[in-house]
Structure formats: C-alpha cells, structure tokens
C-alpha cells in the first residue's frame, strides 16, 4: 500500500533515520508552482478520481430513467459537492437556456401569472440547507443484503444550501384561493413533465422555488435553472426544470404518485402519498467495501437526518446493537438537513458489527429492519429507514450485513 500509517512506516526499517518524504524535500517545496486562475473554475485533485457518482447495474433498464449515486463513502461534513449530487431522471436531463425558461402559476388563483427567471430572481429570496433523499433510497435492502457499498445502499441522498423564493410568496402574488386551496401540483418542463401533488400546508410552510444550490446556480442534472425544494419530503417531489404550479382542491394521482412512490403493504394495499422521509442515519466510514489497515484508533463518522425536523441524538453501537454510546453531532444541526456525527473507537482487531441509530426532535427512533418489516412487510420498496449494520472482519474488511 502506498502510504499507510506513519507508525507502520517507521517500523519497516531497523535504525530508522527518517521518512524519505521528509528527509528529501519534495519537488513542490523546491520549485515554483502554477499561477492563480490556471483553472478559472476549479476541479478536484487528480488524486480524487475514485469518488464519482455511479449507476447501479441492473437497477433500471435504461440510463435516462435511472439513478446515479453519491459516493457517501468518501464525503465529509453535510454539504454534498454539487458535482457529486445524486441524479434521478425519468426522461433524461437537459441544460435549459434560462433566458427562455418560464414559470407559470394557475388553478385556484385570482391572477394566473407567468414569470421569467428575471422576475423570480428579483423576488424576496431565502437560502436554506436541506437534505434531499429519494423515496427509494435503500430500497434494494428491504429484503436481504444486496449491494456492496454505502454509495449504492444510501447514495440517493444529498444535502445543499438552496436559494430561491418561498413558494408562499408566489402563491400570495398570484392571489391563491385561501378557502378552497388544498393541494398544489408541481410540474416539470422536461419530457416526463414530472408532476407531484403537495399539500397546501407544506406549500405555504417551507417550500422554495429555487435557482441556487451551494452558492451557484443549480446544476443542469439537478433542474437548472429552476427546481422545487420540498424540505423533508422525498426527492421526487422536488420537481426539476420546474415550469408550473397549479393550485387545486384535490390530489392529482400522477404516475409517480399512483404507480410509483407508493408503498406496498403486506395485505396487498398500497400506501399513496407517502411523502415524508422519516428519521434515518448511516455510518459512512468505516462502511461496507472499505478495509481497515490496522488496529487502533478510528473516528467512526456518519450522517443522520429527519424529514420531520432536527436530529436530536445519534447512538452508535460497535457490538451489533447490544450496547450503544451517544455520538457527537457537528454543528449546525438544522431542520430537515443532514447532521454529521462522529464518535471515537479503538479497534482491537476482533470481528465486530457497527450500527448507528438516530432520534429526531419528535422523539421518533430510527427502527431496526425487522421492526419496519413487521409493519410494512418486505415489498414496500420505498422509505427503508432501517438501522444499517456493517460487519468488520478480522481482516479489516467491512461488509454489508443485517443484524437485529
């Protein structure tokens, strides 16, 4: 292995004089580097090319109606680099010219209106950090263990700072019918014309018609120049390339809320309009597909989130759920946003199972997979927020298991 710990390194030679990387000054210490603005828009280091978003082979039949997963196994903190934000398209993605993009509000409003991007970006704006999770995240694990890494088990999850105009401002501007409005329909401008029903309570609460993501405009894959941000609600409702909001008095039962994103129950019924992403967490390092090189100290780190508000506490077990310790939460801890947790661990070299369990401010405790299955069976597909177990073998290799 190229580097390893400094300790292992020193142990190599007898009469160790020192590391050649220290004793012999590297080239970058003794020459002149590259000028500023060599890259007017910078990119990651050439040593970072292993961290990419990737498809899961066999998950879907065609790549334009598919998913690419965020490589959570290598990320830090709570902000997802925009270049690694997960993708989910139903009819491919486009890089839409903002000069031609229009946004319409109609339905139960006094004044149906059309806005250009110029109009929208002049309105009162807010900036807020929120996670987005696909309702189908961790779907492949409802039954047995199926995928080799946290990228594929949990990587339909990202978190960004979004900027835009609160939908409530636009609904007011159009004069929505306060008596009869019960639902809105959000509609995308892409081929799928993605449509989702949202309650008027959500719409007036914290939903944003957003153009900004992590300081710059949305990326094309994430709906440039306009998408809906529906905090706490599954990603499919965060309609991309947003072209229209209709105010109505009944739900719309569109394809992706009447055929998909419905939760199969054991009695054959489907739960429709299951929107909220309940409290969940996962350890990202060490996680399946990673190998510990050595015994000794490790920082166990992971992510926790809840569609119902703030994360209150995260517990971690290193003995497969028998005993738990409470982890440190990094700040800020925000509502409907990822929270990063960290906890100390000394690995003694024996096989162990790592788990994390999040509790949100409503008191809801992230369940075990058997507790979920006891209520919802094994066909649900959506909304698997079970505790994830990672087994560390004596070899140091970590793998995906179910332990309860």
């Amino acid at each position: 292995l190229a580097s390893g710990s400094a300790l292992a390194q020193a142990a190599k030679g007898t009469a160790f004089e020192g590391d050649p990387n220290i004793l012999k000054l590297p080239e970058h210490a003794t020459t002149l580097g590259k000028p500023v603005a060599t890259n007017a828009y910078g990119m990651p280091s050439k040593f970072e090319t292993n961290l990419l978003r990737r498809e899961s082979p066999g998950l879907t039949r065609v790549s334009a109606a598919s998913v690419s997963f965020t490589p959570l196994q290598g990320l830090f903190g709570i902000i997802t680099p925009s270049g690694l934000h997960f993708e989910r398209h139903h009819q491919g993605w486009y890089d839409i010219d903002p000069a031609t993009h229009r946004f319409m509000i109609n339905g139960l409003v006094k004044n149906p209106k059309v806005y250009t991007m110029d109009d929208l970006m002049r309105l009162p704006s807010v900036s807020r950090m929120h996670f987005i999770e696909c309702g189908a995240n961790t779907a492949m694990e409802w039954g047995n263990v199926a995928v080799p890494t946290v990228q594929y088990s949990h990587g339909m999850l990202s978190c960004s700072e979004f900027t835009g105009v609160p939908l409530s401002v636009l609904l007011e501007d159009a004069g929505y019918d306060k008596k009869n409005a019960k639902f809105i329909l959000a509609e995308g401008g892409d081929g799928s014309g993605m449509t989702r029903t949202i309650s008027i309570e959500r719409a007036l609460d914290d939903v944003i018609v957003a153009w900004g993501m992590n300081g710059e405009m949305l990326r094309p894959e994430n709906g440039y120049p306009l998408r809906l941000v529906v905090p706490g609600v599954q990603g499919v409702s965060w309609v991309k390339w947003l072209r229209r909001i209709e105010v109505g008095d009944k739900p719309y039962a569109t394809k992706d809320e009447a055929i998909h994103y419905i939760d199969a129950m054991p009695d054959g019924m489907y739960r429709q309009y299951t929107s909220i992403q309940e409290c969940k967490s996962v350890i990202t390092t060490p996680s399946s597909g990673q190998t510990l090189l050595d015994k000794g100290f490790y920082n166990i780190t992971g992510l926790a989130w809840s569609g119902r508000g703030k994360v209150k506490r995260v517990d971690v077990s290193v003995d497969g759920g028998r005993n738990w310790r409470t982890a440190r939460l990094e700040t800020p801890v925000l509502s409907k946003c990822l929270t990063r947790f960290n906890i100390d661990w000394v690995w003694d070299g024996s096989p162990v199972v790592l788990q994390s369990r999040a509790i949100d401010e409503t008191g809801y405790v992230q369940p075990k997979i058997n507790e979920l299955r006891a209520v919802r069976g094994t066909k649900s597909i959506y909304h698997n927020n079970a505790i994830q177990s990672w087994k560390v073998a004596e070899s140091g290799e970590v793998s995906n298991v179910q332990v309860y």
Partner: protein, 226 residues
C-alpha cells in the same frame, strides 16, 4: 400590489398550452374519444418497440400489462398483490386511477417524443392498454363521456390507502422503536450477508475509495479475505 413590475398575467392560450394535467375526477380531461382498434395501431406503431406487443416487455421498463384477473375487476383489488404469486408488479396491477394512465401517456409518451400524441391517440391507446388487460372489450370507444364508468372497472381501484402518517409532517409514524442503550437483545449471527455474486458487480470497490485516508477500498475483484 406587493411586488411591482414582477411577472404578468398568463394569457388563456398560455394556460391552455401548459395546463395539461388530468385528475382522478377527470378535471382537466379534454373532450374527445378513441377506439381500441385505433389504439392498437398507435401501440404497435409507437409503443410496442419498447413495451412489447402485449405490454409485457421488461427490456426498457417494467411490464405494463399482466397479473390482473376478471375477479380483480369485480373487487377492485388485485389479488396477486397480496399473494405475491406474480413475478413482477405490472403497471395494470398497481394503477388505481385511469386518469393516471391518460395523463401520463399524454404528457410523457412515447418516451423519446413526449407530448406529440393527439388527444384521440391518447384516448385510443389508453383504451388499448385496458383492452390488453382485459378490462375493456375489443369494440370499445373510450371518451370523456364514459371514462368515469371505465374507472369503475380498474382492477386495483380499491387498492390505495391514504391512511398513514407519512403525508403530514406532523403525522403519526407507524413503526415505533425504542432506544435501548445497554444489553439490548440481538440475534447472535447476521441474518443476511452480501451474496458473493454481489461483491464485484458494481465494479472493483477498491477503485471507488481513496487510496489514502482512514481506510482503503476492498479489492472486490478477489474473494473476501478469510
């Protein structure tokens, strides 16, 4: 006015151009009709190459037709969803509302040329899908006039429930766990582990982790070390 000089009134033509959604109560459904026979033409010309001649293909997407019975049409509950005897859950097994099919085909199909069907084509091909599913007879003409009657034949029309806590942010969760901290009961062995066949199917995981840091990616091109 709250925001002077921002936005403008939408014209009627503009609303008409974009307001294409069709609700379960058929609000938004344009007047018109289409026959099963014409639907077969549309299907074979514009749909079958992806979805199969009988809507059975899973080459491009999950099958559209299959798994429903005459009995289901009576009960409005697709029995196979409970007994899990079907290998896959087709569109017709799941969909409760005919408006959903009409709306979606109209807005998004054919996949490579969405929003190019005429209203008649949408009526027709919707009728044809229902015909393939043995919900509608061969001679049927689907129209805005009779679609509410057709809704009453949808095999899974009673298969949806909105009785759950995941719509409202303040809804009541269905699964209630307890945060045990010490000596909690746990089975001794993993109940499920990664199948050996799944180890390398996403490519070599060693190349999906950094080559430095707290850990390395496992070389999944080789079997797990023992």
């Amino acid at each position: 006015q709250g925001y002077p000089n921002i936005g403008r009134a939408a014209t009627e033509k503009e609303v008409a151009a974009w307001d294409i959604d069709v609700r379960p109560d058929f609000k938004g459904l344009p007047k018109g009709s289409g026959t099963v026979a014409k639907g077969m033409q549309v299907w074979e010309g514009k749909c079958a190459q992806c979805h199969g001649t009988f809507g059975e293909s899973n080459e491009v997407f999950t099958p559209i037709v299959g798994g429903t019975t005459k009995e289901d049409i009576k009960t409005g509950r697709v029995a196979a969803l409970a007994d899990n005897k079907q290998p896959q859950r087709t569109t017709m097994m799941k969909v409760a509302t005919v408006s959903t099919l009409w709306d979606y085909i109209n807005r998004a199909m054919p996949w490579t040329a969405p929003k190019t069907l005429t209203t008649e084509e949408v009526y027709s091909v919707t009728a044809y899908i229902l015909n393939m599913a043995e919900v509608l007879p061969d001679e049927f003409t689907l129209s805005d006039k009779n679609i509410a009657e057709v809704q009453k034949l949808m095999p899974n029309r009673n298969g949806m429930t909105q009785n759950h806590g995941m719509w409202d942010v303040k809804g009541k969760p269905d699964v209630k766990s307890v945060a045990c901290m010490k000596d909690c009961p746990v089975g001794e062995h993993p109940r499920s582990t990664l199948p050996e066949a799944a180890r390398n199917v996403h490519g070599n995981v060693a190349e999906q982790n950094r080559s430095f840091g707290a850990v390395r990616g496992a070389d999944t091109s080789k079997p797990a070390p023992t």
